[in-house]
C-alpha cells in the first residue's frame, strides 16, 4: 500500500491490490477530533489517556498469573495490582480495547480492512515482523521509564503543558529522526 502526498496536504490511500479503500481524512480535522476526545476525557474523568499504561497493567496481570512471587517483588507491577496482589480492571486497559474497536470499525466502514504486513519494498515480511517486535520491545522500555508514550505523555502531558512531557516529545522525535537513516532499507 502506498501513499502519495500532494502539496496541499491531502493524503490519498491507493491500494495496488485493487480494493476500494477510501482516502484518509484531513490530518488536521482528525487531529482536532483526537484533541476533542482527549478534552472529553479531561472533562468527564479528570484524567487523560495513556496506551502504555494499559500495556503495563496487562503485563502486571500476566506476570501475576504466570509467576506470582516474582511479580509481587516488582515495585513496578505492585502499582497495577490490588493490595492483595490481584490484577485489576484498569481504566486504560478498557480504553485501549475501545481504541482497537474504534480502529476496526473505522477501517471496516472505509474499506481499509486488510490482512497484510506493512513494510518498505526492500525487506521481507519476516524481517519486518522481527523489526516490529524488536522496536516494540524497545518502546516498552522507553515508555516505562518515561511513564508514558505518545498518548500518555506527548498528547496528554503535552496538552497540559507538563515540562517532562514536552521533554519526552523532543527527545522521542529527535531520537527517531536520528535512527531513521539507519533504517532506510526497512522503509524505502
Amino acid at each position: 500500500m502506498t501513499t502519495a502526498a500532494l502539496p496541499s496536504g491531502i493524503e490519498r490511500a491507493t491500494d495496488r491490490i485493487g480494493s476500494t479503500a477510501r482516502p484518509y481524512s484531513n490530518p488536521y480535522l482528525a487531529g482536532i477530533g483526537l484533541g476533542l476526545v482527549l478534552l472529553a476525557a479531561f472533562v468527564v474523568m479528570g484524567r487523560g489517556l495513556g496506551a502504555s499504561g494499559a500495556f503495563a497493567s496487562a503485563a502486571a496481570a500476566a506476570s501475576v498469573t504466570a509467576a506470582p512471587d516474582v511479580a509481587r517483588e516488582s515495585e513496578f507491577f505492585a502499582r497495577y495490582l490490588s493490595p492483595r496482589g490481584k490484577p485489576q480492571l484498569d481504566w486504560l486497559l478498557v480504553e485501549l480495547i475501545g481504541v482497537t474497536l474504534g480502529g476496526f470499525v473505522s477501517a471496516l466502514l472505509a474499506g481499509r480492512l486488510r490482512r497484510a504486513v506493512e513494510r518498505g519494498p526492500r525487506i521481507t515480511d519476516a524481517a519486518r515482523l522481527r523489526l516490529a517486535f524488536g522496536g516494540g520491545t524497545i518502546m516498552g522500555l522507553g515508555a516505562l521509564l518515561a511513564r508514558g508514550c505518545t498518548s500518555g505523555q506527548a498528547l496528554t502531558g503535552g496538552a497540559l503543558l507538563s515540562v517532562g512531557s514536552w521533554l519526552f516529545i523532543g527527545a522521542a522525535f529527535a531520537a527517531a529522526y536520528a535512527t531513521a537513516p539507519l533504517l532506510r532499507r526497512a522503509w524505502t
Binding site: A41, E118, L129, A132, L144, L145, F173, L183
Partner: protein, 194 residues
C-alpha cells in the same frame, strides 16, 4: 467538571466512558491513517508529515479547550491529573522510545489500531511492547533508583519559563501553526525530488 471527581457517577460507568473515549480515539487515529506503519514511517523520511500534523493539532485543540473551559469556570483544572515530571527518566525514556518508534513504525496506541485493521506488523509491535514492559517490570529493581530520580513533581511550562499560562498557550499555537506551514513545504520539496 471533571464530572467523575465530583462523584457524578461511579466506577462502572467510568469504564463505559473509557470504552467510548477509546473508541473515538481509535476511530480518529484510523481515519487519519495513523494505523499504517508505512504512513507513520514517512514522517521520518520527510515525505509524509501526517504524524506531526495529527499530533500537534490534537495537542493544540486539547490545550486550548482546557484553557478556555478552565477560564470560563466550567472546568476545574486543578482537578485534572497532570503527569509528574521526572527529567532524566523522561529524557532517556523518550530517546529510547523514539528509537523503538523508528524501528517499529508504530506506537502503542497506533499498533492496536493497526492490528485491528488486519496488519500483522501491528500485532508484532503489540507483542513486542508487551514483552518489553514485562521484562523491564520484572527487572525493575535495577532501574528503580533512576526511575525515581530528578523528580520535579507537577511542573508545567508556565512555571518553568516564569510566564503566564496564556502566553505559553499562544507560544505553542504559533509554533504549531508555523510547523504546519513548514510541514506542507517540506513535503512538497521531498516529494518533488523523489
Amino acid at each position: 467538571m471533571p464530572l467523575f471527581e465530583y462523584g457524578f457517577f461511579g466506577a462502572g460507568s467510568a469504564l463505559l466512558v473509557a470504552l467510548a473515549v477509546g473508541f473515538a480515539f481509535g476511530w480518529f487515529l484510523e481515519r487519519s491513517g495513523m494505523g499504517s506503519a508505512n504512513k507513520l514511517a514517512g514522517q521520518f523520511y520527510l515525505r509524509d508529515l501526517t504524524v506531526f500534523k495529527v499530533m500537534f493539532s490534537a495537542i493544540v485543540t486539547a490545550m486550548l479547550g482546557v484553557f478556555w473551559l478552565g477560564w470560563s469556570g466550567a472546568l476545574d483544572i486543578s482537578r485534572i491529573y497532570v503527569p509528574e515530571t521526572f527529567i532524566a527518566p523522561q529524557l532517556v525514556g523518550g530517546v529510547i522510545f523514539g528509537v523503538g518508534f523508528a524501528i517499529a513504525g508504530l506506537c502503542p496506541g497506533t499498533s492496536c489500531v493497526s492490528a485491528a485493521t488486519g496488519r500483522i506488523d501491528g500485532l508484532a509491535v503489540i507483542l513486542g511492547m508487551f514483552a518489553g514492559i514485562l521484562l523491564t517490570g520484572l527487572a525493575f529493581s535495577r532501574l528503580a533508583v533512576f526511575y525515581e530520580s530528578t523528580s520535579r513533581g507537577v511542573f508545567t511550562l508556565p512555571e518553568l519559563l516564569g510566564v503566564s499560562y496564556g502566553l505559553v498557550v499562544l507560544g505553542i499555537v504559533v509554533l504549531a501553526v508555523a510547523g504546519f506551514h513548514g510541514a506542507g513545504w517540506i513535503e512538497s520539496r521531498t516529494n518533488r525530488n523523489a
